[in-house]
């Protein structure tokens, strides 16, 4: 068959794989909803579904931008598959870039050689397969070990949980400041992420305060998506002001 990065058959295969991945999510979703009802969490189900869906829109569009960017050299089906499963935009771009570089090609040119295309697909698949391969085998052990710790000392179990979240958040807060050092060289663009983060934090704080003071419970359900969108929107004027 003559190769083309946008061959209709590629769309069919990728579509079928994505249908399987969707089915997995739907399977776990229905089971979790059923269990949540049994556990008396009924009132939280609808709220969780709606706010998770709303929160996901902006980050999902960012993923879509990754598909658009990669589609210039790899066509639509391969980036569509790769960004719908496992990887993140940063990983898939790096993996595709490494493979293209190994083939002495630049990122902008469309891959015409099927052998190179297949090689890139392999690199993208194998490069990040650690989690995919190991998770089915280690998750249960890891979870039951943790459950024991949590059962022994309930208070510590809770602190442990919060400490993990905070550890992750602190790493991303550090990342937000990674380019502030550029100010010394007269480049203020390093301040853009800092200002964006501050905007998002202020919006979240305002939402939280209003929600508790005025007893508007539903506001907390949308506080995170609102702070996310406000932060992203603020990036537009901040970038104009501080230079990108």
């Amino acid at each position: 068959m003559t190769f083309n990065v946008n061959h209709p058959l590629l769309f069919v295969i990728v579509g079928a794989i994505i249908a399987i991945v969707l089915a997995q999510s739907a399977f776990f979703l229905t089971r979790a909803i059923k269990r949540a009802k049994e556990l008396g969490l009924g009132e939280h189900i609808k709220k969780t579904v709606i706010s998770a869906a709303i929160f996901t829109i902006a980050p999902a569009v960012a993923v879509l931008i990754g598909v658009v960017a990669l589609s210039k050299s790899l066509g639509i089906p391969l980036p569509w598959l790769r960004l719908s499963v496992i990887g993140s935009i940063t990983y898939e771009t790096v993996a595709a870039g490494n493979a293209l570089e190994a083939a002495n090609m630049s990122a902008g040119t469309t891959v015409a050689d099927p052998s190179i295309y297949i090689t890139i697909a392999w690199v993208m698949t194998v490069g990040i397969a650690a989690g995919l391969i190991l998770v089915p085998f280690v998750t249960k052990k890891l979870q039951s070990g943790l459950a024991k710790v949590g059962m022994k000392d309930k208070k510590w179990g809770e602190i442990f949980n919060n400490a993990m979240f905070l550890g992750m958040i602190s790493a991303f807060l550090g990342y937000v400041f990674c380019d502030v050092g550029l100010i010394a060289k007269g480049d203020t663009s390093g301040l853009i992420p800092v200002c964006v983060m501050a905007t998002s934090a202020v919006v979240m704080a305002i939402c939280g305060t209003i929600a508790t003071k005025c007893k508007i419970r539903w506001l907390t359900d949308y506080a995170l998506p609102m702070s996310l969108i406000a932060g992203m929107a603020s990036a537009i004027p901040f970038t104009m002001l501080l230079g990108g």
């Binding site: 399987i20 997995q24 969490l41 969780t48 998770a52 499963v85 490494n98 998770v135 992203m232």
Partner: protein, 222 residues
């Protein structure tokens, strides 16, 4: 109660494994299928070079990520997230926010189901948005790449973690001081730490914060 408890968790692991292994097989079958369809083998020289440039770092990160994210995501959330990806920038914040609002912990079964619901919905919505995007890629491309919108999507991580940080720092003020100072120093003074390496620093931050928490807890300060 205990029995049904066990059976739900047991079934999550059982089906999680089955789905996980099945999806892994399908994903590896994809490049094999390409070879069969176009009757071409991969270029093994390029393949080795590409894998050597990519796999060592991402496998190392991936293994550490399992240990870091499993306790935060819960079992169902883990089985889904490690298939659908975008964990730190989407699935985990989504799950953390949902559990926080419902007042449940990832280590309990209540947290387990809420996390699974949030992550499953997030995965489905992401997949659907990408499908719509792929169908409408021609009219959407100029919009998505317009110079006005590009900065907004470039800043998605700061916008996401600003809000999340307020929630967690305000609740754990004492515990958050040390990790934040450490991360600020590391990221400001080590030029190699940036957007593409922040993933490596997540486990560092997590382990450090857990140690600090343990010390403070033992001293009775928390």
């Amino acid at each position: 109660m205990k029995n049904t408890n066990l059976s739900y968790m047991e079934s999550v692991h059982k089906y999680g494994r089955i789905w996980g292994i099945a999806v892994a097989c399908v994903l590896f079958a994809f490049p094999v299928a390409l070879s069969l369809i176009f009757s071409t083998a991969p270029d093994f020289g390029v393949l080795l070079k590409g894998i050597f440039a990519t796999a060592p770092m991402y496998w190392a990160v991936g293994i550490v990520e399992i240990f870091t994210y499993v306790p935060m995501l819960g079992a169902g959330g883990t089985y889904l997230s490690f298939v659908t990806g975008n964990i730190s920038n989407l699935k985990l914040p989504c799950a953390i926010d949902a559990m926080e609002r419902a007042g449940v912990k990832a280590s309990d079964e209540e947290g387990e189901v809420i996390s699974t619901i949030a992550i499953a919905v997030s995965s489905i919505v992401t997949t659907l948005i990408i499908i719509i995007g792929v169908i409408c890629i021609v009219p959407l491309t100029p919009v998505l790449e317009s110079p006005v919108l590009v900065p907004a999507f470039d800043m998605i991580l700061p916008a996401l973690f600003g809000g999340l940080a307020v929630v967690f720092i305000s609740k754990n003020l004492k515990l958050s001081i040390a990790p934040i100072i450490l991360m600020l120093i590391l990221f400001i003074f080590i030029p190699a730490l940036n957007a593409s390496t922040v993933g490596i620093m997540v486990p560092v931050g997590v382990i450090f914060t857990v140690i600090v928490a343990r010390i403070l807890y033992k001293k009775g300060a928390l």
